[in-house]
Every structure is written in structure tokens, then in C-alpha cells.
């Protein structure tokens, strides 16, 4: 449980941490689109360079980052092999029995894996360097124009921040109840698939019950403190767009232009 770092925030002082969450959100979304522009060696190298630069400016140890995404890397490896074995075209490079590995397959395998890798790292870095509250504040600010179409922006942001706020609580509770049930003789790691699925019932039921209780208590506590929705509510933290954010946009713009120029 401790090895999973997706969705966790690491408090350090860095360029990336100090950026405006709105800028980080937009850049991440744009990056996801831009990744698909790359289609040859040079463009993938450029993307790689950009990713490395981002990792470097986050001050998060590279090895820790790789270790944390271990599970997702299995997905990458599986995709890689799927492409190697099933994409045909070009010369045959290796032949193992009935399997033939084609030039295109290898190329495609490497490119798609890289694409996956960049996406995981970049979206991962967003949550690693931005607190959940910053993310929701950023979202709320970015979605504001939708208010005109009667979209409940504030309620949406509140829902998200509550959900994010309770992830660590829920994790702690899962850990606690899991331990209590293990002490009562449950084995979450052994047995057939059916037995293992059944062993989760003593974990899930208490978790659900506690969550419902907590939701009710939270609602009462909020009302007791005069919460009436977003109308007329002021903000404690104000978002500030800085020179850093503009700089990051310019770098992304340069990257995009370079990708368009060099792609084949």
C-alpha cells in the first residue's frame, strides 16, 4: 500500500511546486494532446527531453518516481510485447518458432511504450507537486465560464475536494481494518480467487458503513457552521499567475512547434 504514489503529494520547494495550479492543469492536458504529434525518433527524443526537464524541475528523486509507478510499468511492458508480436510490416528481425518480430512491430512497441511512459510521468507529477486543494481550486477557476450554462461549478469542486480530502483517511482506515481482520485470521494473500474475493467482505462492509457515517457527520458539521453553497463565498487562498507559468507555457509552445516541424 505504501509503494503506490499515484495521487500523493510530496511537499518540497521546487519550480513545479510553486507554479499556479491552473497552469499545471492546462499544460498537463495540452501535453496529453501534444504527445500524439510525435511519430519519429527526433520527436520522441524531444518529448523525452521535455519530460526529463519537468522531472528535474520538480526536485522529486528519479528513482523514487520510477519505484512508485512500478505497477503501471507492467502495463507498459505488456503493451510493448503485444505490439512486438502482433504488428506486422517491414523486415523480419527475429524469428522464434511461429513468432516473427517485424521491424514495424519493434518500432511501434517502443514508441507506444514511450508514449505511455511520458503520460504516466507527467500526470503523476501533477498530483505529486500539487496539493489536492490547489487542484480543486484550479479546476473551479478554470470551469467558471461553465456557470453561464447552469453547470454547478462550485458544488462540483466541493465534491472533488471532499473526495480527495478523504482519500488518505480512507487509506488509513483500510489499513487499520485490514490489520484487525488479519489478526482475526483473514488471509488476503492466499487461497483461490473465490476465497480471496470473499476475504474482502470483512474489509469492505466496515469501510462502507464508516464512510456513510462520516458523510452524515460532515454534512451536519458544515451546516452547523453556516455553509449554504458557493453564493457569495470568499476565498482564503487566491490563485496567482506568475512569470513561471508564462515561461512554462512558452516552453510547451516551443515544444509543440518543434514537434510539428520535425514530425514525419
Amino acid at each position: 500500500m505504501n509503494k503506490i504514489i499515484f495521487g500523493r503529494y510530496i511537499p518540497v520547494e521546487s519550480f513545479l511546486h510553486k507554479m499556479d495550479p491552473r497552469a499545471k492543469l492546462i499544460i498537463t492536458i495540452l501535453f496529453i494532446a501534444v504527445v500524439f504529434l510525435a511519430n519519429n525518433g527526433i520527436t520522441y527524443a524531444l518529448l523525452g527531453l521535455f519530460t526529463l526537464l519537468t522531472i528535474f524541475s520538480s526536485k522529486i528523486p528519479f528513482r523514487f518516481l520510477l519505484g512508485g509507478f512500478k505497477l503501471l510499468f507492467w502495463l507498459i511492458i505488456i503493451t510493448f510485447f503485444l505490439h512486438i508480436f502482433f504488428t506486422k510490416g517491414g523486415n523480419v528481425i527475429v524469428e522464434i518458432g511461429a513468432f516473427k518480430v517485424y521491424e514495424h512491430g519493434l518500432r511501434q512497441g517502443i514508441f507506444i511504450s514511450l508514449r505511455f511512459f511520458f503520460l504516466i510521468i507527467m500526470t503523476g507529477l501533477l498530483t505529486l507537486t500539487t496539493t489536492p486543494i490547489e487542484i480543486t481550486d484550479g479546476m473551479e477557476s478554470l470551469l467558471k465560464p461553465l456557470k453561464r450554462f447552469r453547470f454547478p461549478v462550485h458544488e462540483f469542486a466541493l465534491m472533488m475536494s471532499i473526495a480527495l480530502r478523504f482519500i488518505p483517511t480512507l487509506m488509513d482506515e483500510t489499513d487499520k481494518i485490514m490489520k484487525a481482520q488479519v489478526a482475526r485470521g483473514v488471509d488476503f494473500t492466499q487461497g483461490s480467487l473465490k476465497e480471496r474475493a470473499q476475504s474482502f467482505i470483512p474489509l469492505l462492509i466496515p469501510l462502507f458503513i464508516n464512510s456513510f457515517k462520516r458523510a452524515e457527520e460532515l454534512a451536519i458539521a458544515m451546516e452547523a457552521r453556516g455553509y449554504r453553497g458557493g453564493e457569495g463565498r470568499t476565498k482564503y487562498r487566491l490563485l496567482k499567475w506568475g512569470i513561471r507559468d508564462t515561461a512554462a507555457f512558452i516552453i510547451l509552445l516551443v515544444l509543440t512547434t518543434a514537434l510539428i516541424v520535425f514530425r514525419s
Partner: protein, 292 residues
């Protein structure tokens, strides 16, 4: 069954930026058939230590010996069920672990996991529910329609029904009313006297530690600060107060009284009866002096 640790150390989130040394240099021996209290501030590592007692956590350095099993750092252990069958843990707020449709099923859950047959498990459920002082007819009710105090008792019964040789209690009475507290603590003590088990009690309450335990371990900032009999531990109340820990109210009273009288009333009063006896004796001698 004896539990023994050698240079035990535990770090949370080892090899990550969140790495955190929770306990270190733990060398303790908890003999069979003993009542040990572990006291210390929040964050002193008590809860981390107790999770080692049935191998829920395995040391990151050093070793722990639980009965015949030795669990060493760096050795991946499998088949820990036998250990967990012998060491039962009642966690803080144990009522949060209840999940079955009826109280009976919930109590039978543990024993069934450890291979006890259904008839025996049901008999144990009945026995356990009586031990915790609840009526038999509660067995057929849903645990979620009980009051908080009743749920706590049911959760304790769940662990008792496993018939552990060592019973580890992590603040079992937190959040209960004074009467319920006393009843539950007395029940554990009776169990300790009548059956062949040892009890390890993690607590904030110095009263409970002084009243029930025959050995006290004081933890401070992740390691053992002091250990000994209640008399030895509370003989230096000033030391405990400096650590930010409490001393039993009878001792606090005795200290104040001796300060006022500018004379010792002799020994340490670990219980109310003890204190009353000493004060009576004091009054008696003063009266005699006045007569003379």
C-alpha cells in the same frame, strides 16, 4: 507463551522520502502468564510495537521471538496464522471491524478462520458474550443496531472467542463511560487470574497500569525509557511528570498531602484502599500523640 525482542527496530515507508523511524533499540521480555502495561505519550511507538506481537508488522532490523517462532528482519515470513491464533489483538475502537449480519456470526468469524468447527465456534460465542457481560439474546441481533458500548463489548468478545494465549489490548476502554471502563478492565483482570493467558495492555491511564499490571514498560520517543514493577515505576513520580506522563491520582494526592504535612506517610499508595489505610494509620498515631 513468552514474547522476546532483540534490538527490534521498525521504520515506516522504508526506502521512500516518507521514511520514518518509529521504534528502535527495543529489548524486552514478556514472560508467560504476566500482565504487562505499556505506557507512553501518543507517538511514542506503543501501537507500532504492539503490532509486532502477532507479526502484523515485521521488524526492519533486529528480531522478535513469539513462542517458538522467531521473526527476523529481512526474512520473508509465510504461514503466520499459527502466531496470530496464539496472540489476539484488540485494537483501538475495535467496534469498527464488525461486519456480519448477527453478533453470533461476527464472533464465530475468528475461530472459524483458525479452523475451529461451527459447533465449537457457537459454543465459544455464547461463552464470550457472557464474559463481556452481555445477555445471550444479543447473539441473534445485528451488531449495527447496538449501542456504542455494546458494540465495543461484542468486538472484544470476537477476540476472546479465539482463545488466544496472549491478549494484546490497545486502549480497550477509550471513549467509554467510567462504569463501562471499570467493568471491562475488571473482566480482563478476572480472565488473567482464572485462565492461562498473559495480557499486554497499552494505555494512557496510569490508574489502570498501577492497578492491574505486574510489570510496566514506559516508552518515550520510540524507545524504552524505563521498565519495572508499578512500585519501581511510580517511585519517581517527578520523572514521569517531566516526560509529560501522568501518575495515578492516589500518588498525586499523597504527594500533595506529604507536602502540606511536611512528613512522609510511608510507601507508595497505588490504590485507593492503600491510601485510605495509610491516612487512617496517620490519624491514629496523631490521636495517640495528642492523648499523651
Amino acid at each position: 507463551m513468552q514474547i522476546r525482542t532483540r534490538n527490534l527496530e521498525y521504520r515506516y515507508n522504508i526506502n521512500t522520502p516518507f521514511e520514518h523511524l518509529a521504534i528502535y533499540d527495543i529489548n524486552i521480555a514478556i514472560p508467560a502468564r504476566s500482565y504487562t502495561a505499556i505506557i507512553g505519550h501518543t507517538g511514542s511507538g506503543k501501537s507500532t510495537l504492539l503490532q509486532h506481537f502477532n507479526a502484523l508488522l515485521q521488524p526492519t532490523s533486529g528480531e522478535i521471538q513469539i513462542g517458538e517462532r522467531t521473526i527476523r528482519a529481512g526474512v520473508k515470513e509465510k504461514q503466520l496464522k499459527p502466531v496470530r491464533k496464539r496472540v489476539g489483538i484488540v485494537f483501538q475502537f475495535p467496534e469498527q471491524q464488525l461486519f456480519e449480519e448477527t453478533v453470533e456470526k461476527d464472533i464465530c468469524f475468528g475461530p472459524l478462520n483458525f479452523g475451529v468447527d461451527i459447533e465449537e465456534a457457537k459454543a465459544r460465542a455464547k461463552e464470550a458474550i457472557q464474559l463481556v457481560g452481555l445477555p445471550d439474546d444479543i447473539l441473534q441481533r445485528s451488531p449495527f443496531e447496538l449501542s456504542g458500548g455494546q458494540m465495543r463489548r461484542v468486538a472484544i468478545a470476537c477476540v476472546l472467542a479465539m482463545k488466544p494465549e496472549v491478549l494484546v489490548l490497545d486502549e480497550p476502554t477509550a471513549g467509554l463511560d467510567p462504569r463501562g471502563r471499570r467493568e471491562i478492565m475488571d473482566m480482563f483482570y478476572k480472565l488473567y487470574q482464572e485462565q492461562d493467558i498473559s495480557i499486554i495492555l497499552v494505555t494512557h491511564s496510569m490508574e489502570d497500569a498501577a492497578r492491574y499490571a505486574d510489570h510496566i514498560i514506559v516508552m518515550h520517543k520510540g524507545t524504552i525509557y524505563k521498565e519495572g514493577t508499578p512500585e519501581e515505576i511510580f517511585a519517581a513520580p517527578q520523572e514521569l511528570l517531566e516526560l509529560g506522563l501522568d501518575v495515578p491520582q492516589t500518588i498525586r494526592f499523597q504527594m500533595k498531602l506529604e507536602e502540606r504535612l511536611r512528613q512522609s506517610i510511608g510507601g507508595l499508595s497505588l490504590s485507593m484502599d492503600d491510601l485510605v489505610e495509610k491516612i487512617m494509620a496517620l490519624i491514629e498515631t496523631r490521636r495517640k500523640k495528642d492523648h499523651e
